[in-house]
Amino acid sequence: MAGLDILYFAWVRESIGKDGERIDHPGGAATVADLVTILAARGGGYGEALGKPDKLRAAIDQRFVPLNTKLEGAKELALFPPVTGG
């Protein structure tokens, strides 16, 4: 099975304690929100960072997507809070 690279930024990265990881791809039918639920269930920092999906934003292959987007064809998923640049 193909892999999926996940990147974490800002307080998501701090709570989880790493800036990313590679996981087995959960399949094209799964959504970002499905994967967030699976990861949050790991508990600890994952639960803290990903337990409230309404506070999260996501990008698939460097493009912002809503959390109900399917992971079909995704190679890189980034999970982070709303951006605060500028």
Binding site: F9, P81, V83, G86
Partner: protein, 148 residues
């Protein structure tokens, strides 16, 4: 049309950015420089970012800006890493044959950067507190105005 976008820890020289825009031969150059504010005893502002996505997003917004305004050039500089109050953090400059296009596109780009570029700010204060900056509804509203 020339597009320059640099993300990095080093400071930049606004005069050099402006000179590059002036050299494009248009009649107007508009710029915005953002400076770190020292509100509430802020000591350090630290920026996290997602480099691969920043470049992709800037390419997209430059193309959008070009559809709306006849631009000759866009220059964007955004700093990352640790910054102190008074330091420059962001620069946006546009060049066009006409002032309205330069001024409007410059405002559009900085509003867009605030809500669409993958940067995250963390503030550290003199009393030892530190916190990630919360997004402001006002910034979302400003960026949304351009979508009309």
């Amino acid at each position: 049309m020339t597009i320059s976008c640099r993300i990095g820890e080093v400071d930049f020289d606004p005069a050099a950015e402006i000179a590059a825009l002036e050299a494009l031969g248009g009649g107007g150059v508009a710029t915005f420089t953002g400076i770190v504010r020292g509100d509430d005893g802020l000591v350090t502002l630290r920026l996290d970012h997602y480099p691969a996505m920043t470049q992709a997003q800037v390419d997209r917004v430059a193309a959008k800006a070009m559809e709306r305004w006849p631009l000759l050039g866009i220059r964007i500089v955004h700093r990352v890493g640790a910054l102190k109050p008074g330091e420059r953090i962001v620069f946006v400059g546009t060049a066009s044959r006409h002032r309205t296009a330069a001024l409007e596109s410059c405002a559009y780009l900085i509003d867009w950067l605030k809500t669409n570029a993958p940067f995250w700010k963390k503030e550290s204060f003199a009393d030892g507190r530190s916190a990630w900056v919360e997004p402001r509804a006002e910034d979302d509203a400003k960026a949304a105005q351009w979508e009309e």
